[in-house]
Chain length 260, copies 2
DNA sequence: TCGAATTTGTGCGTATGTATC
DNA sequence: GGATACATACGCACAAATTCG
């Protein structure tokens, strides 16, 4: 069976399947050989055939549908997300504009709550004065959609010390709903003049992978973003995007020359 | 055996081990229970115990050493890499300055070659005129070190059409060796006035993981960077950093107000 | 240096549950 | 309902790496 057993059998079987995908013989949405089928064809055990398929799944090249089969799922060319601190556009938030430029139908759903900030969030928002047990931020959880599919998660925190008593306390309420943080803050006299984004990457949690319809253990790019107005933090957010779908684009000029 | 089988057994065992790590009972470097040990202790099969450990490994909370055991490996606090287009500093390149600020001994090794650019690199450098089979770029492969350990890979391409005949044809040669691209280009009258970075994440290749001394299959953050001088591309680079060691920091002001 | 014991990795077999068609 | 598929769980065996006396 093994004229050369440098590499484990299940990896060699995975190589073989990967090659059939790469060559175009198996295309997007095609069904890969089933576990029993592979085992019979190659004269290997079902456990080993299953291991080989798991390799492709963990690489994001395939998805398993219980009871149905394992299907090729080619990574799309990643979309570009332009990271910029402020872009007033007819399409609303920066995400909406990026999707619109790429000819995709964008949408989002959200849920806002007034809550007490965690120590980390308090730190990121520069909330030094104690408010006891009082609620001090509005937390909004977003799911962003492209062509109806969830593609980005974001959790945003805005300090009540900034927004309390203004018409924009709730991010997705009122005239400026869906227009993005920058425009909303501008409307209450707090123009955003600086931002910081900390970019990292890690495996997605089970919940993130499920909400973004990715295979368990998919790689996620994470962004911790903070917006400033005159050295005051007015918003901070945790953003999660699947690494196989997005490339983040930063550029030297965007801080100086907002696009119109 | 299962009074409630909502979740698979191997996931519940993984939960249990994860909790022992989270609580501090098992610390960095400690050995997790062995597969046969777990199986005996919990009255489960070795296959199931092995599956449970694989979950923690895939989450990056543990590493397996064949023949030795499976060990807790808590993620370190990642270092920050400040991404900025130009920072003239007494410490040379931006990488050197970041490491110096964090009190780490920085260094690098490199290798330069004059080569013919690939189509992708030609595109990134805006080289539209054909040069036949002639060599048209200087390619430099860097390994950056922190405290003697390799932490970042970078491959840089500079078009000969810009640097030919100048004292800085070879990046790490002459007076400005180690001073960074920005200073070198400035010295030949090509000040860098714009940059674009495309940030993505993926699994590291076998070679990258080995050169950066990471476990096979570690997550890497990749940056495709291009420097411009008056709308002319003067350099492009592919940068690879291990995701568990670095966070990239971008900020709105750095494009306008270079640090001194 | 050698060998015994332990551990992970791989591969085989089987069985059952459950989802899909 | 029946056939097929994946997911989980059990069992066993051997190879390779490591550790330790």
């Amino acid at each position: 069976m093994n004229r050369e057993d440098e590499r484990p059998l299940y990896l060699r079987v995975a190589d073989q399947l990967r090659e059939r995908i790469r060559s175009g013989e198996l295309q997007e949405g095609d069904r890969l050989p089933s576990v029993p089928g592979l085992a019979a064809d190659l004269g290997i055990s079902r456990s080993t055939a299953s291991e080989a398929l798991k390799v492709l799944i963990s690489e994001g090249l395939a998805v398993a549908r219980s009871g149905s089969g394992t299907f090729v799922r080619l990574p799309r060319e990643p979309q570009r997300l332009i990271r910029a601190w402020y872009r007033a556009t007819p399409y609303g938030s920066p995400f909406m504009q990026d999707m619109h430029r790429q000819g995709r139908e964008a949408g989002w759903s959200y849920e806002s709550k007034t809550v007490q900030a965690s120590p980390e969030i308090r730190d990121r928002l520069g909330l030094t004065e104690s408010t006891g047990d009082a609620e001090d931020v509005v937390r909004t959880d977003y799911v962003f959609l492209a062509d109806g599919e969830p593609v980005m998660l974001s959790t945003s925190w805005e300090p009540l010390v900034v927004t309390r008593g203004t018409p924009i306390v709730l991010p997705e309420d009122g005239m400026l709903a869906g227009r993005g943080v920058a425009e909303r803050m501008l409307s209450i006299g707090m123009p955003i003049d600086d931002w910081v984004e900390e970019v990292a990457a890690r495996l997605g949690t089970a919940e993130e992978c499920e909400r973004l319809r990715r295979a368990a253990g998919s790689i996620m790019v994470t962004i911790k973003r903070t917006y400033y107005s005159a050295d005051t933090q007015v918003e901070t957010a945790d953003i999660v995007v699947p690494a196989d779908r997005f490339t983040l684009v930063y550029s030297g000029k965007m801080g100086c020359v907002p696009e119109q």
